[in-house]
Each structure stands twice: as structure tokens, then as C-alpha cells.
């Protein structure tokens, strides 16, 4: 059952990712990206990491995907235009792929058997965030607050 589900989800995720990379219309590509994120979240559900999967949907569909479509809507006038095939992109993609493959092969982690760990509950994640990782989390909070204030400053209207 798990293998069947894994294959089905993998097919959906990969084809959505391929569509996101190849579709001509930018908006369709952005929506395919959202579908690929749903596929990734389904993977996390499959291995029992519900919290990570839900956070992924929450952040990437609810916020990032909406941000992307809005950016496309508000900045690009040539959304429908075909930009043609660019060899530079191929070179960069191949370089990234080769780098990742090289580093994965070098780590030898493929040879190590994954240790048996119990599924994390939301409670454990919360405790780790509030004790061990409390300072990094506060830093992230500060950064987000700064971003919020920055966005407000950008749109604040000047008194005539």
C-alpha cells in the first residue's frame, strides 16, 4: 500500500514540478508549483510527519504561492509571451544538478541504514523550539517583524 501510494505521489509531484519548469504560461507554471508542494506535503504525511506536511501546505500554498501569483500579476506584462529556449538556463540547471549529485555521492549517507526513530509529535517539536532552539526562533521572529515594518514603510502614504 505504502509503495503504491509512494509511486502515485511521486508521479504527481514530479510531473507537477516538470510542468512548473516547462509550461509556457507563467501563471500555469506558478500553479503547478503549488501542486508540486501539495505532493511534497503528501510525502511527509506518508512518513508520519503530519506537522511538517501541514506547515508546508500552510506556508507554501497559503503564503508563498499566493505571493508568487501576485508578483506575476503585478509586475509582468508579458505573462503570456513565449520566452523561447535559453541555453544559459540549461547550463545552470546542469551545474546545480551535478553539484548536488556530487555532494550526495560524497557523503556516503546512502550506505548508512536509517536509524529507527519514533514519529515526532507536535508537542516535541514545540518543546524543542521553546527550549533548545529558542534563540534562533526569536531571531526569525525579529526578522519577520522587521520585514513587516519594512513592508508597512514601503506603502505608507506621505502627508501632502
Amino acid at each position: 500500500m505504502n509503495t503504491g501510494a509512494f509511486i502515485a505521489i511521486a508521479i504527481v509531484t514530479l510531473s507537477a514540478a516538470m510542468a512548473a519548469a516547462t509550461l509556457r504560461k507563467l501563471m500555469h507554471a506558478a500553479l503547478s508549483f503549488a501542486l508540486a508542494i501539495v505532493g511534497l506535503a503528501a510525502f511527509f504525511f506518508l512518513v508520519g510527519a503530519e506537522f511538517v506536511g501541514l506547515a508546508l501546505v500552510f506556508i507554501y500554498i497559503g503564503a508563498v504561492a499566493v505571493l508568487i501569483v501576485f508578483t506575476i500579476l503585478l509586475t509582468r506584462r508579458d505573462v503570456e509571451k513565449d520566452h523561447g529556449f535559453k541555453w544559459g538556463g540549461v547550463v545552470i540547471a546542469a551545474a546545480v544538478f551535478a553539484g548536488l549529485t556530487w555532494s550526495i555521492l560524497k557523503t556516503q549517507s546512502t550506505a548508512i541504514v536509517a536509524p529507527q526513530i519514533r514519529a515526532l509529535t507536535v508537542k516535541q517539536i514545540g518543546q524543542a523550539l521553546m527550549t533548545t532552539y529558542v534563540w534562533p526562533m526569536q531571531c526569525v521572529g525579529l526578522l519577520l517583524t522587521a520585514a513587516l515594518i519594512g513592508a508597512l514603510l514601503l506603502v505608507i502614504e506621505e502627508k501632502p
Partner: protein
């Protein structure tokens, strides 16, 4: 006897699944999910049909007219006529529309609304999809609605649609924050994200009389009111229905939809309303628990749907009473009032917890809520002198 009636739907499901005894595990799992999904859809689509006619009748009463009263007894078969009309209407897709996006938007919006129903406990042992992070699931699924609304606006290739979608997304984003933050105190106090655990935490009675629902604490009452208002805005109901404001932008993101696709949007809106009220009563009003010990002989699902109908009645009542607000008023309310108040609820819940969850904690959290509310109402007081209205974007 009352116990067997309470569990009648659970035992019915077990009886159905017993036909499959001996078959592989995955088949039973799938069948069990299918039974749940079928039951959920049957109940809530019926409720949708009932609600659509009751809402029109109650609105009619509020406005001193009859409402639908021609089809069937008391006009009760009106939804059947409406359904047939919607089904056989012509489905028009604009020539310049983005066909696939235009087609997918209503499906996505309805799927999100229906998925959100899955995590709500409808009675004892009656949670269709009981996962550990149920509350998070509800909001994660709900956040995909924004993308669906955008798809509807973009796919229609129409300026009214796009404007409506922009309004809807701005409003939903703004109210999602207070909606989510008002849930936090409950999650903190119960120590779990699972709706079942939250309902279980509200089971007992203080002094054997007052049920221990969270709405009876000061922070719970404040959070419930905020949750209800934010829920109104999330489901685009009056007085927050500017996204479809038909007097300005036709019908917002639904302008270019006709026939059954329009009906799907309509259905998604109502089902979203059921889901948000269901979650609200699970969090604050004790879920399926009876309000008094002597009334516990009635089955749990009756209490759930009783409370749900009361909440829905309030929705209709609000719609019949309040006029539509302007978009800037909506945004001001969300960011200047609801967000600070929601965070205050979190603090008040913490105060309540550390003061011992008794009468002392009750009073202390009341003080916190009342002082912040007074402060906000002084700061946000807009009763200035009357002055000519200034138009910023028009001459």
C-alpha cells in the same frame, strides 16, 4: 439504551465494514474512508439545501415579507427547484478566459471547504479524520482557498473578477491572522492540536453546574467573539461581503461563472461557513457535550448539530441586520482592533493558567482583557469633528 443510540452511526459503520471482514487491510482502510466521506457529504449537502431555503425564509421574515413559499409545503422543496435550475443552465466560458484555470477554480474551492469538515468531531467517536494536528489541518486546507479565489479571478480574464479576487484575498489574509491567533489560547491551555482532545478538555462541570466550556472564561468569551467575527469575514458573509459586492463589482470573482460552476462556488461558501462554525463550537462551546449533566441522555451528535444550527441562525440574523462595510473599514478593524485583541486573549489565557485556573485566574484574565479593550477603544476612537469627506483617488 441511550448509549446505543449515541453510538448508532458508529455501530452502523462497523456493521457496514463487517461485510469486508477478511479482506486485506488497505481495502478496509479505503472502504472506511469512503463511508466517512459519503456520510459527511450526505449530511452537509442536505444541510446546505436546507440552509439555503431557511436563510431565505428567515431573511424574508426579518424584512417583513414571506420568502419562498410556492414549491412544496412552506416552500421547503425550493432547493430542489434551484438545483434543477442550476444543473440545466447553460455553462458559459468567456472566449478569452484561461480555460483550465477557470475550470479548476470552483473544484479546488469546493474541495478545500469539504476537506476542512473532516477534522471536526461530530459526536462521541465521530471524527471522520482524526489526526494529531487537526486544527492545523483545518487552517492549512483553508489557506488554499485564497489560491482558488485568485485562480477564479485570474482565469476569468475580467477586471471585475480580478478586483473581486483581490478584495477577497486581502480580506481573507487579514482575517486569517486573528482567526488563527484566537485559536492559540485554546491550544495552549489544552496542550494539544487535536480537536478530540480539545472537546475532551471541556467535558466536566464546575460545581457540577456550569459546563467547563472555554466560552465561560473571560479570555474564551473574547476569543470566541473575535473568532466569530473573523469567521464571518473568512466566509465572505455580510457585513464583510465586499468581495462579491454586487452593487460595485457585479459578483467579484464569480462574475464569469454560470450554471453549475456558480452553484459550486455558492456551495463552497456555505460549506465553509458550516466548517468554521463547527470548528468554533468545537473550540469554545464544548463541541458535542451537553450543557448540563441532566441533559446528557440525549445523543452527542444532536447537541453538535443543535449548537451548529444556533450559530448558523446567528449568521443569518447578522446578514439580515447589518449593512455592508467599506473595504478600508474592514481592513482597519482587522489590523488595528482584532489582531491586538487576539494577542491579548493569548496573554489573558496564560494569566488564567498561572493564576490557578480558578476564580482568581478568572478575575485576573478579565482585568487583562478589559484594560486592553478600554485602551484600544480610546486609541481607536474616531468620533472626531464632522468634516467634508476627502476623496483621495477621485476628484
Amino acid at each position: 439504551m441511550s448509549k446505543s443510540i449515541d453510538q448508532i452511526f458508529v455501530s452502523a459503520k462497523h456493521w457496514l465494514l463487517s461485510w469486508l471482514a477478511g479482506s486485506p487491510d488497505w481495502l478496509i482502510q479505503i472502504a472506511s474512508s469512503l463511508v466517512n466521506i459519503f456520510a459527511l457529504l450526505a449530511v452537509f449537502l442536505t444541510l446546505f439545501a436546507l440552509m439555503s431555503v431557511l436563510e431565505r425564509k428567515i431573511l424574508g421574515r426579518i424584512q417583513n415579507r414571506y420568502g419562498p413559499n410556492r414549491v412544496g409545503p412552506f416552500g421547503l422543496f425550493q432547493p430542489v427547484a434551484d438545483g434543477i435550475k442550476m444543473l440545466i443552465k447553460e455553462d458559459i466560458v468567456p472566449a478569452r478566459a484561461d480555460k483550465s484555470v477557470h475550470f479548476l477554480a470552483p473544484i479546488l474551492i469546493a474541495a478545500a471547504a469539504i476537506l476542512a469538515l473532516g477534522v471536526i468531531p461530530y459526536g462521541r467517536n465521530m471524527t471522520p479524520f482524526g489526526i494529531d494536528g487537526g486544527i492545523l489541518f483545518f487552517f492549512a486546507v483553508g489557506s488554499t482557498t485564497e489560491l482558488a479565489v485568485f485562480m477564479a479571478g485570474w482565469g476569468s480574464n475580467n477586471k471585475f473578477s480580478m478586483l473581486g479576487a483581490m478584495r477577497a484575498i486581502a480580506q481573507m489574509f487579514s482575517y486569517e491572522l486573528p482567526l488563527f491567533v484566537t485559536v492559540l489560547p485554546i491550544v495552549m491551555v489544552v496542550g494539544s492540536l487535536s480537536p478530540d482532545r480539545i472537546v475532551a478538555a471541556q467535558a466536566e462541570y464546575t460545581y457540577g453546574l456550569v459546563p467547563r466550556w472555554f466560552v465561560f472564561t473571560p479570555w474564551g468569551a473574547a476569543a470566541f467573539i473575535l473568532f466569530f467575527v473573523a469567521g464571518l469575514a473568512e466566509s465572505n458573509r455580510t457585513p464583510f461581503d465586499v468581495p462579491e459586492g454586487e452593487s460595485e463589482i457585479v459578483a467579484g470573482h464569480m462574475t464569469e461563472y454560470s450554471g453549475f460552476k456558480y452553484a459550486t462556488f455558492f456551495m463552497a461558501e456555505y460549506i465553509g461557513m458550516f466548517a468554521i462554525s463547527g470548528l468554533g463550537l468545537t473550540l469554545f462551546l464544548g463541541g458535542w457535550h451537553a450543557p448540563a449533566r441532566v441533559l446528557e441522555f440525549l445523543p452527542s451528535y444532536l447537541w453538535f448539530f443543535g449548537k451548529l444550527s444556533v450559530l448558523l441562525m446567528v449568521y443569518v440574523w447578522v446578514r439580515g441586520t447589518l449593512p455592508r462595510t467599506r473595504i478600508d473599514q474592514i481592513m482597519n478593524l482587522a489590523w488595528k482592533f482584532m489582531v491586538p485583541m487576539a494577542f491579548t486573549c493569548v496573554i489573558a489565557a496564560a494569566v488564567w493558567h498561572y493564576a490557578g485556573r480558578g476564580l482568581r485566574g478568572w478575575l485576573w484574565s478579565l482585568i487583562v482583557i478589559a484594560s486592553v479593550y478600554t485602551l484600544l477603544s480610546i486609541v481607536l476612537d474616531t468620533r472626531r469633528k464632522f468634516a467634508p469627506r476627502v476623496y483621495r483617488f477621485a476628484e
